[in-house]
Amino acid sequence: MSKPIEKELSIPGRPNVTGKVLIAGEGEPLVFLHGAGGLVWDPYLEKLSEHYKVYAPYHPGTGGTIGSEEIRDWWDLVLYYYDLFDELKLDTVNVIGHSFGGMVAAELAATDPKRVNQLVLLSATGLWMEDVPSTDVFTLTNTPDALFAAMFVDPESSAAQVMKELPEDPDEQLKALVENRMSLAETSKYMWPIPDKGLSRRIHRIQAETCIIWGEKDGLIPVDYAYEFKRLIKNAKQVNVFENASHFPQLEELDKTVKTTRDFLASKSAVK
């Protein structure tokens, strides 16, 4: 697997905030926003980087980024990403968001619709359905076995292994465990205690053509949410549900998810 380059970005006018983005590949730019567990350069991003120039920013406060305490609330976070896109010269860009990253991606597309060209929501959070509440993932983080059983159809699979892998060196391992814990902490700030920060009141503003990808057996965010996103986003073209996937279709059904993503992104380019 080739290694992406790591780019640090300072935001003009925000001297105490430094962002960080993993970048790999050539071609049309494509942004990927990661979930609560933290950014992992996984086979899905690797495969996408064979066709696109992939930008995967770290959520503020994770991956060695600085200044998350100055990004106090949801509104600050949305503007932080627009600032980051500005620094990356991404005026209008295709965005993929997974889980918590999907919540952010949808908000970026709703707040300023012209910044997001095409939107891919992978097992996204951000909505709340009283009768099918999403799992409180944070209650599972002290029991890794229960957590992996909720995130993967087969917690022993090689797909799950991608998220389980830890460095062998004890110091590096400790660092990785603390980093994972702090990533949950930094993202939970925007999902606590219920991952609904008003997207449903703004989602009608999304103009981007949207592709929704979900695992039929998602143990964290029930597949009902896939259809709810479809119902609320006016240009949501497809709901792609993979039968043998839970919360990580991009790892559990890697080839299918890559193909669905590429086909969807190609469809719009063809229209242009």
């Binding site: 599972l140 983080t141 603390v178 702090m182 902490a185 939970s188 700030k189 606590w192 205690p193």
Partner: protein, 414 residues
């Protein structure tokens, strides 16, 4: 040595199979298990215990805050403090400890400044103000505060409350989490510039100790796992104070201990064992789901906790598992036995830990009222008077209401 009577106010009639049938005593425990008729008796029994403890010469009584659980039924400790405030006032020398209010949970936090000032005024300057962060269960899960915001909110609330007590003119406060155009707390406390502040904590973190040192606050290490488990934490506390060039006065520290006194060692086991087991098995039956939300501790503390297997409360719970009565005593989880056994164990423990404030827990789990009263009685008459002198010839009392500092305690009333 100061003795502080602390009752957690447990629900004492959980079903026998509680810890097998229910996942957690906190957060998900259904309140269908709470019988308000029985609860009525329990509250009044427990308030009687506080009043008796005051009559029997305890230096203070202490209340604390917990939410959504079956072992600590003081979601509003200030209400219980209000019911005993008059008794405190009428006593010779009792102080009232609120151990305390979880500052980040009060909106706006000046509510704490107001209520504590009320209690300080009602008692005539006998209040000790405890400012805990609160457990993850209480703050993140029961009250919905985002874990990563808990400590910033706590520190901001602290600054606001202190300022509200110390300023004599209305002021405005433009915080990250609290905006108040007009802060003007009526009443203001009797004790100037403010009541003594204690910081209770279960995490034994250097950050907390430095915060105490910087502000001249007392630190109380609150763990249910006893004096042996507390030893390395308090050793580190004293070491840190030394590094900071602060004094080693035992009154800078407090500690909580489960104690059972009876006529003989054997009788103590007969009378208390089942209730101690109820406490450890039911009252501390917290599901790992709610034990600690990510972000509740700082990255630094998380790293330290992962490096030390004895770091956390869950480590205490692991160490406690499977121990019989005798082992619980030998390993210092509880102090129990005849008055002379208890005196011996307790004196050794407080001297080793170097603590001047002992929070005495005498009402455990399912204990009936008569037995709790007996425990309070025996402790006050057969243990407390004999140990009171500890530290007194060497150290001045600190972090205690000024007007009570040098009061000599009279023998217990009957």
């Amino acid at each position: 040595m100061k003795f502080i009577y602390q009752n957690l106010m447990p629900y004492r009639e959980l079903p026998k199979d509680f810890n097998e049938k229910y996942e957690s005593v906190f957060i998900s425990v259904p309140n269908s298990l709470y019988d308000p008729e029985k609860g009525h008796e329990m509250y009044n029994d427990y308030i009687d215990q506080y009043e008796r403890a005051i009559d029997l010469g305890f230096d203070a009584v202490s209340v604390n805050e917990h939410h959504s659980n079956a072992y600590g039924l003081m979601p509003s400790p200030n209400i219980i403090a209000g019911t005993i405030a008059r008794k405190v006032r009428e006593s010779d020398n009792a102080a009232l400890v609120i151990m305390g209010n979880s500052l980040a949970l009060y909106n706006p936090p000046i509510r704490v400044a107001e209520e504590m000032a009320m209690l300080d005024v009602i008692t005539g300057g006998r209040l000790i103000a405890g400012f805990p962060v609160g457990t993850s269960m209480d703050t993140n899960y029961a009250y919905g505060v985002a874990p990563s915001e808990l400590r910033p909110r706590y520190y901001e609330a602290h600054d606001l409350i202190k300022k509200a007590w110390n300023e004599r003119e209305p002021f405005s406060f433009n915080g990250k989490f609290n905006q108040l155009r007009y802060v003007n707390v009526w009443p203001r406390p009797v004790q100037q510039p403010n009541p003594p502040v204690w910081i209770p904590g279960g995490g034994a973190s250097v950050e907390t100790w430095d915060f105490c040192a910087k502000n001249d606050y007392q630190y109380s290490y609150l763990s249910f796992y006893g004096h042996a488990f507390a030893q390395d934490k308090l050793d580190n506390f004293w070491k840190r104070r030394e590094e900071l060039g602060m004094d080693q006065n035992p009154y800078r520290a407090g500690f909580v201990q489960i104690i059972c006194v009876s006529e003989t060692d054997e009788k103590a086991q007969q009378e208390y064992e089942e209730h101690i087991n109820y406490f450890f098995e039911n009252s501390l039956h917290v599901s790992p789901k709610y034990a600690e939300a990510p972000g509740y501790r700082t990255a630094k503390s998380v790293a330290r906790g992962m490096q030390s297997q004895y770091g956390s409360e869950s480590a205490g719970s692991q160490l406690r598992k499977g121990l019989n009565w005798q082992q619980l005593i030998e390993k210092g989880f509880i102090i129990a036995g005849s008055p002379s056994s208890v005196r011996e164990q307790l004196e050794a423990a407080v001297r080793k830990l170097r603590v001047g404030n002992l929070l005495v827990m005498l009402n455990h789990g399912s204990m009936p009222q008569e037995l709790a009263m007996k425990n309070i009685e025996l402790f006050s008459k057969e243990v407390m008077p004999q140990l009171r002198h500890i530290w007194d010839d060497e150290w001045d009392v600190k972090n205690w209401p000024e007007k009570l500092k040098n009061k000599k305690t009279e023998p217990a009333k009957n």
